[in-house]
Structures are given as structure tokens and as C-alpha cells.
Subunit: 353 residues, 2 copies
């Protein structure tokens, strides 16, 4: 790999001059400048980011930490962040934590030794990310938290309006006449899951409705967990007439459980999700879901981060993006059934009793 010294020799100038040309750190007379540029082209020279980073105490990397690249919501966020970062000359270094707190710490620590310009984090838990990130910021590295927030986090954030999204979805379901609602929330310690429950509860209490705590199940944000919690809910009496899934992956799992139980959706039981993944419209039936602008969350986070890197030191910003209810076919009015009795179509129930 060519280096500056070679360029200098070929162009017949000093090393310092090459640097000045490359960084416009000082005006250089045209003929010299041209000779340098020619040599650069001839050798296909690219400055070593390693050396540059070492010297400047900062690289053009932006570290991005996500819980699970396998959940399609996150790639959308990543794409948004990547697009903005790339366009501004930054490169995204992606780290997957697998929702594992320990792995998150390893990544955080190691990433730091690469002196990234900034960090975009979708925390894996409430973690003590705050401490780590604080230390990042002390060393001049910007950090933006996205989607969910760690405990006591007081830096920049980009989130969706989870509470309101859930509130509106719940109201929609209630307007359809449902009385027996259930929710499969995400992990209890994640702020986005918490806020979705909050919206759900608010809609209920505004109508003076109350539901037992067993109708709000906790589950990790994946299909498998969605499936097993749905099985559980279907056994309850009275059986819920609608399930609000904390995210679409959970909803997909629920759909599977319905099918196994011989329940038709939405005739026998309704379902609504959160995220509005691209695939929500492909399922059977097409899933109604609260749309969350993943791509925009990514672009917003990256833009904010880059502003910080470039010197914006205003107080912490909190961007909250709107959600939108996407109505498809998975919610219908409940069947009319005698109170306190589960619908006759529930095969599972027969077994459970």
C-alpha cells in the first residue's frame, strides 16, 4: 500500500506538502499541487485511516450497536443510519449484541479503542450503558440512543411515540367492540415496551375498563416468545377476543399459535401488532399494526450524531417520531358470546380444562 512518503518522492515535494495538499491545511501553489495529485492518482493512494485516526484521535467510524440484526425492524434503522453516515463520509461499524448485556459491554469497550467519532446505540437492556456512555462522552465521543433508553439516560435520543401509538391502536380495537383484551408486551425492562403498555392502559382506563394482570404477558420481542405466550393466553377464561402484540414478531408467533389452535383470525380472534414490518401485509390475514418509522429513526440518529461530532454542543435533544395506525384485516368485531365463556371454537381450551 502506497503511503505519503512515496507520494512525496514521486511528486518531488516534501511529506508536509503532500499533507497540506490532501487536507488543504495550507495553500499550495498550483504546479506543486498538481504534481501531488497526479502521484496520488497514479498510485491509487488512500490515506491510512489507522494512522490518521491515531494522530487525530478520532476516526471516521460510527459505531452502531443493535440487539438483533435478525429482527427486520433493526435493519431498517441501520439502513437509515448507514445512508446518512455514508453520505457524510462516515462508516458504520455494526455490532450485534444478541440482547446480551455482556456482549454489549465487550463491544462498547473494544469499539472505543478504535476511536470512533460517535456511537448509535439501541440498548439491549436498561444496562448500565449510562456509565459506559458517559465515559465515552467525556472523551469527546458523541452517543445517541435509539428506540429504547437505558435507565437514567440523559443524552440525545431518537424514539417513536410508543405510548401514543399503542393508545390509538387500543382505542381502535375498543371501538370495534372488544371487551376482553390481552397484551403481549415486550421485555418488561425495555422502555419502548413499557410505553406501549402505558398507552394500552391509558386507553382502557379512559373507558373505565380494567383487565387482570394475567392478561398482560411479558415476552421477548421474537416470534417464538409470541407463540408460547399466545398459547398461554388462549387457555385463559374468559379467552381474550383480541391480542395486542408488543411488536410484529410477537404477532407473527401469535398467528402461528392461532392456526395451531384452529382459530381463524379475525373471525375467532383479533390481533394487532407494532412496527408495521414490510411483511405485515403478507401474512394471513394481513396484519394491522402500528407503523413505526424505522428508517427515519436511523437517519435522524445519524444526523444528530454527526451534528454533535461537528461541534454542536447544545443541550441533549430528544426526537420523538410519530407512529401511524395501519389498518389491515386482522381485527374484526368480537363474536357475540355468552359472558364469561370462551368461544366454542377454541379447541385448545378443551384440552386445557
Amino acid at each position: 500500500m502506497a503511503n505519503m512518503k512515496e507520494i512525496a518522492k514521486i511528486a518531488g515535494v516534501s511529506l508536509g506538502t503532500v499533507s497540506h495538499v490532501l487536507n488543504s491545511s495550507a495553500p499550495v501553489r498550483e504546479p506543486l499541487r498538481k504534481r501531488v495529485m497526479d502521484a496520488v492518482d497514479a498510485l491509487g493512494y488512500q490515506p491510512s485511516q489507522l494512522a490518521r485516526g491515531l494522530r487525530r484521535d478520532k476516526t471516521n467510524m460510527i459505531g452502531m450497536i443493535i440487539p438483533d440484526i435478525t429482527n427486520p425492524f433493526f435493519p431498517a434503522v441501520v439502513r437509515g443510519a448507514e445512508d446518512v453516515a455514508f453520505a457524510n463520509g462516515y462508516r458504520l461499524v455494526l455490532c450485534n449484541t444478541d440482547n446480551d448485556h455482556a456482549k454489549e459491554i465487550v463491544h462498547l469497550n473494544e469499539l472505543r479503542t478504535y476511536l470512533p467519532s460517535g456511537l448509535i446505540v439501541i440498548p439491549s437492556s436498561f444496562s448500565d450503558l449510562t456509565a459506559q456512555a458517559e465515559s465515552y462522552r467525556k472523551s469527546g465521543t458523541a452517543v445517541v440512543c435509539v428506540d429504547r433508553l437505558p435507565r437514567d439516560w440523559n443524552g440525545d435520543t431518537v424514539t417513536a411515540d410508543n405510548e401514543n401509538g399503542a393508545y390509538e391502536a387500543t382505542n381502535y380495537v375498543l371501538r370495534q367492540g372488544h371487551k376482553q383484551l390481552a397484551m403481549i408486551m415486550g421485555p418488561r425492562h425495555l422502555t419502548n415496551a413499557q410505553n406501549r403498555v402505558k398507552g394500552f392502559r391509558r386507553a382502557l382506563s379512559e373507558r373505565k375498563m380494567h383487565i387482570g394482570p394475567e392478561y398482560i404477558q411479558e415476552a421477548s420481542f421474537d416470534q417464538h416468545a409470541g407463540h408460547s405466550k399466545t398459547v398461554l393466553l388462549l387457555r385463559m377464561i374468559p379467552q381474550p377476543t383480541v391480542i395486542f402484540a408488543g411488536n410484529d414478531m410477537i404477532a407473527f408467533g401469535a398467528l402461528l399459535a392461532f392456526r395451531e389452535a384452529g382459530l381463524r383470525c379475525p373471525e375467532d380472534i383479533s390481533l394487532i401488532g407494532f412496527d408495521n414490518l414490510e411483511l405485515a401485509e403478507m401474512t394471513s390475514p394481513p396484519l394491522s399494526s402500528v407503523s413505526q418509522p424505522g428508517y427515519q429513526m436511523g437517519t435522524a440518529a445519524a444526523r444528530m450524531l454527526i451534528d454533535r461530532v461537528r461541534g454542536d454542543d447544545s443541550p441533549a435533544k430528544h426526537i420523538v417520531l410519530e407512529t401511524a395506525l395501519k389498518i389491515r384485516d386482522s381485527v374484526a368485531p368480537p363474536r357475540v358470546t355468552p359472558a364469561r365463556t370462551a368461544p366454542a371454537t377454541s379447541r385448545k381450551r378443551g384440552k386445557a380444562l
Copy 2:
């Protein structure tokens, strides 16, 4: 950030000794060693990967270049690669090319200046990646190509047995009695798409069947393209009774087009995909698809790469992973209809004529 000099001072030893302790590059007597380790712990010292990389001419990064993080097949491969890389102390730097050749080159060039240990590439096209990668390898950086191969590539590879997978899927469809087949292949220049067509053709020609070239449509590997090519195929006379989609994203688009055209799948028209994404079982109807082990492709690639980094200089290896036909509900025997006439259920056709 603490550095070795500080450690040396606190531990009361020289800088060299610290290095020796950290890298076991020379035996150090226990008391000294302990003092050094204590200082390391006390300061939470982590060696600068930047400086280390500069000095060693190699970092612990593995660059991974993928076409589109948004297609769920790729994240699976990434996860596989990440898991193996992480477990071996390497960090994956993910770059998204957006199927854009120019972006691929930018990433390739820039990544190199970070001196990664190796590169895992899912090429965005037949590109002249070969030239670039050759130059990587000359500088001692291992490169493994996954899923699709660039023209004239003669280095290590990990692919699925695309031809055979397509061959078996086609045979399955033929056994169901279909005579009017169509295929929406992926991009013509991608080797995986080519091989799937090859398998498709082989199955046909073994039964002495012939189909017109207009029944093999080219499309990029996404839902949108799948949709529009399906619309096109549905207008043809005779209308195909089954569509073989080059991948599941295309199949999802086809499903949407069926729905718009008022065609029921599989009663009116059958469909089969490739990849067997997790969501294939969630669609309406659940999609039959050729399963491709994405995660394993990732682990195999990473393992191979790490072996190379560690000195394996045997001749180029080519790992080909088996596919498996996953039968669900999207293929049924064709309707019995008068020859040369499209089924009466095709509304689109009415318009097209």
C-alpha cells in the same frame, strides 16, 4: 484513555515490560507481572487497536460486504459470520452496498486502509471485484466470497447448491402436473440466479419440455420487482399455472400481485420460492420454498477466513451447502382448463386483451 505508558509508571516498570506481560512476548517474573495486571485493572486499560493495528499491519476487524441488509436472507448470513468472528476475537465491520457497484468499490478501498484481517464479500454484481480482491490478497488479506461469485473469481467460496435446489423444486412442481411454468429469476448477472435457472431448465429438459423465453423473467431480488414481473406474467397467454420465484422476496411480491388480480393461491395459480425465509411460513398461503442455510453460510465463511488469517495457505476451497425443499401450501395441481386458454378467474387478463 489510559495508555501503556501510564500503566508502566503506575506499575513501576518499563513500557516494554508492560507490553511483554500483555502479549506474553517474553516471560515476566510473577511480582512484576502482577503489578502490571493490577494497574491494567485499576485503569481499565484497553490497548488501542488503532496503534496496535498500525504497528502490526493488521487489525482484528473482519470486513463484511453485503448487498442489502434489508433482505432478511443477508442478516442471517451476517449473524452466522458475526458469531464465529466474535468468538474468535474478531469484530465484524458491516458495509452495505445497496447493490451499487460504485459503493462497493468505495467500501472496498476504504476498508483496506483499516487493515482488516480479512474480508467476507457477498458481491453486488459480477463486478471487477476480482481485481480489487486480488490486490487485497497480495497484501496478505484473506478474502472469501459468499452466496454469489464475481466473474473469474478463483479464491475461497461458500455457496448453496443453487442449481440442485432449483432442480428439485422444479421437479416437485412438475410432479404436481404443471405444464405451464414460469420463472422470475433474479438479476441475470448474479451467479446464484443463473444457477437457479440452470436447475429449472435441467428439470424441464429432462422431461422434454420447452418454455418460451418470455416465461423466464429477470428481476432484482426484491418484493417490488417480483410484483411487477408477476403482473406481466399473468397477462401472458397461456397464463402460467405456477411461478417459480428466484427468491422469497420476489415470491412475496408475486403473492401481492395474485391478490390484486383476484387469483387465489394455490387454487388458481401456484407459487414456489427460494431461501425459505422465516416469514415464508407466515404468508397466505404459507409459501413452499427451497431452504438455503444462510446462518451456516455465514459461519462457514467466517471459519474459513479465520483459518486463512491464521496461516492456512492451502489451495482455494469451495464449500457448497445443501438446500432442502420445504413444502407448504402454495403449490397445488393445476386447474384443468382447455389448452391455450387462460383460466377464467384471471381478471387482469380481461383488461390486458
